[in-house]
Amino acid sequence: MTKITLKPKRQFSVPIEASVITPENFAAKTMEQIKLLEVWDGNRPTTLGSLFDVSSEPDGGDEMTIFIEGDVSKLRRIGKGMRSGSMTINGPAGMHLGEAMKGGTITVNGDAGSWLGARMRGGTIEVSGDAGDYVGSAYRGSREGMKGGQIFIHGNAGNELGCWMKKGFIRIGKNVSQLAGIHMTDGTILVEGDSEARIGAQMKGGRIVVLGKVANVLPSFSIEEIRNVVRAGEERLPGPFYVFAGDLTEGGEGRLYALKEKNPHLQFCEAYIE
């Protein structure tokens, strides 16, 4: 199929609604049609071609691939609802990247904004840098969070990661801010670094594994046991881990695993293991 490359013509200053940038949307179109796709530059409608240099070249693969070269941190909703194909962004990406995505892959060589993979249903997102708040979460007020797919972030992630998550896998290479896994009902979150406070608040199910320091465990979590090996996604991680169940305020049956070695401040909990 084709490889399409988008290069920003200038430094963007206001948010741009760019949900038209998806592999399927480009696949059935000629170069001219792609250039004429409507995007909103702030409060003005304009065309993709006026913001980007668009070029295409044939590609041996059987899927549509899109390359975005440059700073698109002002672009919102890139890859919204995409089902197949692949997209690579070499540079920082904006908010709502891969929103409600159902398949295909998105790779960001740089940072990603907030709401990365929000309402995601399938596919894979990989970010080499950091991501903002609400990664893989639900729309504000809604209870429909991530329901499938995988998100890999090699850097840090912000607050409320995996809010209302129901299925799928999120892996964070470094640290997460507050309230990771809030309201989650199933699925797995693996944090290789540290977590700030209130992790797993109001979770009803699912698993959160932290390989670094957990700032504190909510009082509505109760310690179950110490376990030597914990599974996260495909991997089996060596422990020992403190295993907490919660969030009990919601009658929750979620599990929070904190590596014993990095969490000496949780040692007092051991006395409560029945």
């Binding site: 639900a138 729309y139 504000r140 007020g141 809604s142």
Partner: protein, 566 residues
């Protein structure tokens, strides 16, 4: 300026004037229906189209602090439903709780021209009027809540009905309210203490009074003040299996107060209070019992509160009920206490087709509408947004007018609930005249709005014209055509102005706000005034002077003088 208009050759359905599908011309001048217009009048060719009075909705939560709290609480309700601004109209959002402007546009597009906000805490009615002012095109009014008001309960406890009447008259004037709304009488006060009231003769905590006495007392007050509408009652035990008995008792408790042949009580969103059974698993329809009672007496009117299968938002002054709903469904919950007056709660819900309880509720609403024989005493509502958004009215109309429409919907519902329901055995199908009665003529009459809901000489020129021929179409089979036409009026005419054409807004005007300018004799008023400042001193965080909403606060004030001229 020529403000004359002739609607030519329309097929008119005007049940209040016994006109059923007659081809005739309607002349309009100065915002009123007149006998004849001059030859220079603008002409609308309505040949082959259904012409009816503008729709009058008796119960729809469209404005006020609870509506706004729900908007804030439910961004996910708005995200998929939004309207862009046009040269004429403002942008807006909202599926179950539309923005104020959007509310006006959507009602007008369906041919509705008058809508009543049925529950406003008196103290927060300033906010309600601010929102009503922002709802364009349609006329409106609001009902202040009195069923748990401390002063009302104190007066009635002392047996001082006249004092209570003077207080309510002052309250209606001060809040620019239209009628007396009673929600879970005494129960919301009990909720202040974490409790509820489960029967008509339970005592309200800290007041030596029962719901029966509150309802009867306010019914007497309504009569003394000659208010245009009856008391508008949301009974105790709403949403509780087995509550139909309490509903019948509630209707019966004011039977002796009714004047011959006149209504004395309106039971609103009756579907929610027509539940039979012990608990949710044994839930059955009590519609037959309720309808039998309503058919037997003359003093009761009811509205449907028809369930629509969609995601919506429940909001009611019945705080304890919302708490139960929150406990049942685990959805987010908003709870409010309004000092000395009432409370309120908000919980989002999804009515699901395959759910036993929801299917039963759906059947109850329609059974009520089909079993109550007199269309002048049953009104079409969805208790917007509690049972469903008002935008679903065309769907409800198709269910009322077509057994086939009901059967087609029933196929997709919970079959266990359908089997236990009476609905499949009901063959009645509404005629166009009956449909026009339950959506406009009867509601206008129940509200005492003499110039609304009909097309007689002197009536307000609120007319809706639909692109469907009621002489040719068979609504029983071709219910989809009727439904489609009802969604987007060919024309909506409000006060003689064409506001909608082909389902699109073509002109935005400001609607009126009706309120009851109720008065009592001077001696009663003097006595009240001597007590009032003390009452506010004792019970309120604000002074009586600041409580009063001035008439110029309303964008277009339209006072109604109870009992006619003064």
């Amino acid at each position: 300026m020529n403000d004359e208009l002739i609607i030519r050759n329309g097929i008119v359905v005007d049940p209040a004037n016994d006109i059923d599908r007659e081809v005739m011309d309607i002349a309009i001048r100065g915002g009123k229906i007149v006998r004849k217009a001059s030859p220079s009048a603008k002409i609308i060719d309505a040949s082959g189209m259904l012409v009816m009075p503008g729709g009058v909705d008796i119960h729809s939560h469209i404005a006020g602090s609870k509506t706004n709290a729900a908007r804030v609480m439910r961004p996910e309700d708005h995200v998929r439903d939004f309207e862009r601004k046009t040269a004429l109209t403002r942008s807006g959002v909202g599926h179950s709780i539309p923005s104020t402007f959007t509310t006006g546009y959507r009602y007008a597009r369906m041919g509705y021209t008058t809508v009543i906000e049925p529950a406003t805490p008196p103290m927060k009615t300033r906010h309600t009027h601010e929102e009503l002012n922002d709802i364009p095109i349609i006329d409106k009014a609001c009902f202040p809540l009195f069923g748990n008001n401390w002063h009302v309960m104190e007066y009635l406890e002392k047996g001082d009905v006249d004092g209570c009447a003077a207080y309510i008259a002052w309250m209606l004037r001060s809040t620019k309210g239209y009628a007396i709304k009673i929600v879970n009488p005494g129960g919301v006060e009990a909720w202040h203490w974490g409790g509820n009231i489960r029967g008509l003769d339970w005592e309200v905590p800290n007041f030596g009074i029962t719901p029966r006495e509150i309802i009867r007392g306010l019914c007497k007050v309504n009569k003394i003040l000659k208010l245009p509408h009856t008391i508008h009652v949301h009974p105790n035990n709403l949403g509780k299996p087995g509550n139909y008995l309490n509903t019948i008792k509630t209707m019966d408790c004011v039977k002796d107060l009714a004047e011959e042949g006149r209504a004395a009580i309106h039971i609103t969103h009756c579907q929610f209070t027509s539940f039979k059974g012990e608990d949710w698993s044994t839930l059955r329809s009590g519609a037959e019992e309720i309808a039998n009672y309503v058919n037997k007496v003359k003093h009761v009117t009811i509205d449907m509160g028809q369930i629509i299968f969609t995601a919506t938002t429940t909001m009611t002054a019945d705080g304890p009920f919302e708490y139960i709903l929150h406990q049942l469904q685990g959805r987010k919950w908003h709870n409010t206490d309004v000092e000395a007056e009432t409370g309120a709660g908000i919980v989002p819900v999804v009515y699901k087709r395959k759910n036993f309880v929801n299917t039963t509720q759906w059947a109850i609403g329609l059974e009520l509408a089909l079993l109550v024989k007199d269309p002048w005493r049953i009104y079409m509502t969805t208790d917007h947004p509690n049972a469903g958004p008002f935008t679903a009215y065309p769907r409800v109309i198709s269910w009322l007018m077509s057994k086939k429409a009901r059967e087609n919907t029933m196929k997709r519902l919970n079959q266990g609930a359908v089997k236990k329901s009476n609905l499949p055995s009901l063959d009645r199908e509404y005629s166009f005249a009956e449909m026009a009665t339950v959506t406009r003529a009867a509601t206008a009459r129940a509200l005492g709005l003499k110039d609304k809901g009909h097309l007689g000489i002197g009536a307000d020129a609120d007319v809706s014209i639909y692109g469907v021929n009621p002489k040719e179409v068979d609504p029983s089979n071709d219910y989809r055509a009727v439904r489609k036409a009802m969604r987007r009026a060919a024309y909506t005419i409000k006060e003689g102005e064409i506001v909608v054409r082909d389902g699109e807004i073509v002109k935005v005007i400001e609607g009126k706000t009706f309120w009851a300018d109720a008065r009592v004799p001077d001696d009663m008023e003097m006595k009240l005034q001597s007590e009032l400042s003390e009452k506010f001193q004792d019970y309120y965080t604000i002074q009586a002077e600041n409580y009063v909403i001035a008439e110029d606060y309303l964008a277009r004030s339209a006072p109604i003088i109870p009992g006619g001229t003064r």
